[in-house]
Amino acid sequence: MDPITVPEGNLITPNLIETKGTPSEPRSPLPAGHSVSPDHHLTPQTMCPAFGSLRVLTRIDGVQTAMVTDTGCLYGLTFVTHFYASRKSIAAPAFGTKELVAGNVAEAALAACLEASKMPGTKLVAAISLCVAETAGLTEEMLPSQINGVDVILVRVPAYAIHSHPEAKDVAINAILKRYAPPKMEVTGDGVEKPLTYDSGNEDEEALRRKVIMLGEVFPADPISVDAVLKRLGSGLAANLPSRNLDDYKLARRVGAIAAVHPFYGGSVATLRAAGVPIISGAPVGPEATYNWIKAVGAALKLDPALTEQVAAEERDKCQSIIGQFPLEGRVLVCGYEGNELLYARLLVEAGAEVPYISTSIQKSLYTAADEAWLKARGTREIVYQKTLEQDVHALDTYKPDLVLGTTPLSAEAKARGIPAMYYTNMLSVRPMFLSAGLAGTIQLIREALERAPRYAWMREFFEGPRPAEASPSAVNTMD
């Protein structure tokens, strides 16, 4: 990945606080009998990283994937793709010892691309190179750029090198952008080379330049409400990436700004920055960030400042009025592996919840810094990147939450202790969260979950028996 620099137009947090090296709160002593030491960080938490790419690619109309990998990997990734991404048939070459000994990794990849390209209506075949193929040395030069008039790209997502599935979404989007929205350079009158962002000077192009593309996989209702707000500013949403329409990717270089609403698109953002497109980071979650985000869009697109201020303030006030009506109360741990956990935590904190611990699968970067600083200034004690199950379970002991938004194993562990819990990916990551419209639904979901606490306690007691006295906590074996 290219080195990340502070993006232009990052106007959301006035005080970008350096958080690197900030010591986390001292750990409380472990309860006696606890069987997992926090020192053992054994089990990183992420969906298979490659799935992030498959999720993005298989959902695009006219895109077929060809997976180059061993049978176990192929079975698992096909399974989760067919469950979570699209009902599309997936082509692959047989790829085992026989093929490896023969050394025909390129032929295998090519044959699968050819098979994939046969589907009527195919515009792009993405060859997905996974651990085994990467180790065997499949490279871009080995594949043609087209087969049967269909474009071919190589998407390289070995799980041993890309550590989380959100970051693999970035790999896929970046691969498409590099093919369909590569930087074009022009030399200005005074001999300076700079990125060309206009394809022509016509009216449509001008209109496009007033619009924004949102970068980040969000619930379909979010782009609609964002578009509505932007239209009031005289702007609008040109597209939301990842998109199901391949043409949307081609617009990315030509819009007025890219709003990278999730913090893990470093590669795609670097590609678009090199093409001269201004980048807005942060997302419209909760009153304060919503206000700042709308103002940032206004500034990046040079929209009417008075109108921007008015719309931003109105949207902030709407958020605040919803919170006033439905405040949250309780201690919530936000421990997903989707990469957007900091955004959700902000929303919950502004709505009144206490969020002492947040963890995610993605790495710490400049794009997480603003939200981290904001959260730590408001009571969050620990933010863990590239987290492990052991760290999350330790947080259950330390913080005694009222609600856990976690990975599957963590949620299962919380429920086993009688604590209300939800699988973050299925229940939160797929709901609207932006602006006032998204806020209302999310707060309602969390309020209802907190109210269900007696049910979780009852179910635990039914299956596990009465809870032992508080003084001597039972040995909870977190991996059992």
């Binding site: 053992h40 298979c48 990283p49 049978t71 176990g72 698992g76 048939s89 070459p93 799980a159």
Partner: protein
Amino acid sequence: MEDIVRSSPAGGKPHAPIELIRDLESTSGYWAAVWTMCTMPDVHVICDAPIGCFNLVATAVPDYTDAIPHIHNITPSVMREQEVTMLGTAGAVRKTIEALSQLYPDKQLIVVSTAESEMISSDHSDWLSKLDPPIPFFWSRSLEGDEWEGRDRALLWLWERFGAGRAKISPADQQAGRLVNIIGPTYGCFNSPSDLHEVKRLIEGAGGRVNLVYPMEATLKDTPRLAESAVNVVMYREFGELLAQALGKPYLFAPMGIQQTTAFIRRMGELLGTQAQAEVFIEQEKRTTLAPLWDLWRGPQGDWFATTDFAVVAGRTYTEGLVRLLADELGMKLAFASSRPRQPGEMDNIQIRETLHKKQPAFVFGSLNEKIYLTEAQAKATHFVPAAFPGAVVRRALGTPFIGYSGVIYIVQEIVNRYYELVFNFLPFDNVAAAGQLKAVNNPLASANKLTWSEAARARLEQQLEGIPWISRISASRELRTKVEIHAIRQQVREVTPEIVEQALAQP
């Protein structure tokens, strides 16, 4: 373009043709080993794997195949770039062993290879054997074999390493105890809780007593007890027979269909010396469990079995069993069957996909893959019945068996109910949300007397109906005719021509 694929590498010989796969239906030896060994609570597996291989096998997939939150007794070595390119994985495995030995001193650690660790030749057997205590290493052959072979090997390996030579029981005791093992159920076995429940019932009905259900209901420490039984039942044709052979006792496969189940009970009675009890059980079953089949057979439902076709794509046990029950015993028409692992001459998924795109049987028993192919073909009149993995389906209730007498009834009941559903869906109804539009559908039909059909147009419609399963053809013909006539009226023509039919059919 075919040339690109066949072209030979620079300076080299032409390679063997590449075998292509669509929607792989069987996983690898690594998955098989984990899904076999981790069923036993006193085992803890270390998989020598990148994080993805761990997540898929331990959480992402068994969430939806076995309805469990995650497999708890497995930890990855977490192979990263440095392990793959420079260091090898021994250090990462050693660190994991040290941590787990502290955490679970009473568990048996087993290190299992994965495709990626095999790719970089990470064979740990030597240094693991020198540890105190030595840690067993299972080379899962994930770059060669499939999951069936993998489970077969893992079961045999567990017996050889943790069972053989440790058993303490005399043959006389076995016969007296009439003990029977059931070999086979692991994670990732479609519908196995129900089937297991039925196999236990059949064994007990025939006069036996269930000893070990291995590995699903056993611990690793129980392994020597496999030697206690007089007879073994192998649940699946796909795997488990290797272990049964090594145990050296008579073994039977779990039965499907009426005749095979009857033969199973009789043979079990003979092997256990409980023939009389087995015969009584069979007679009782005819009056109880199996009675619904006799009733349905004599009722109106029995008539249309012979006019209904079906296809099966599933594990070998289910494929052979369903063909035996539905085609051989009930007389349904078999469109095609393909078992897993694939036998010579059976269709692969590429061929199955093409076949299902062309013509869809009334019932397709299969995995999510077949469901996708039916979706691609927009098959509305075909019933998909889950009968294999992959696919997200909860099968933890004990009342949905395919095996044994109970399985006969469950399958027949399922088919009849789906037939009722099909009939219901083709009956006319009042659409409340679009009440006015219903009349618009009916009126053109009423006024269609004024329309004439050309012979060619009629033939074209007949041809279209050929592709629709027989049981729904009458309803479908009415539906298609209405569609064509509405189109004709909208086009303001007096005669329905083949072109009009084509245009109407092309509409969604």
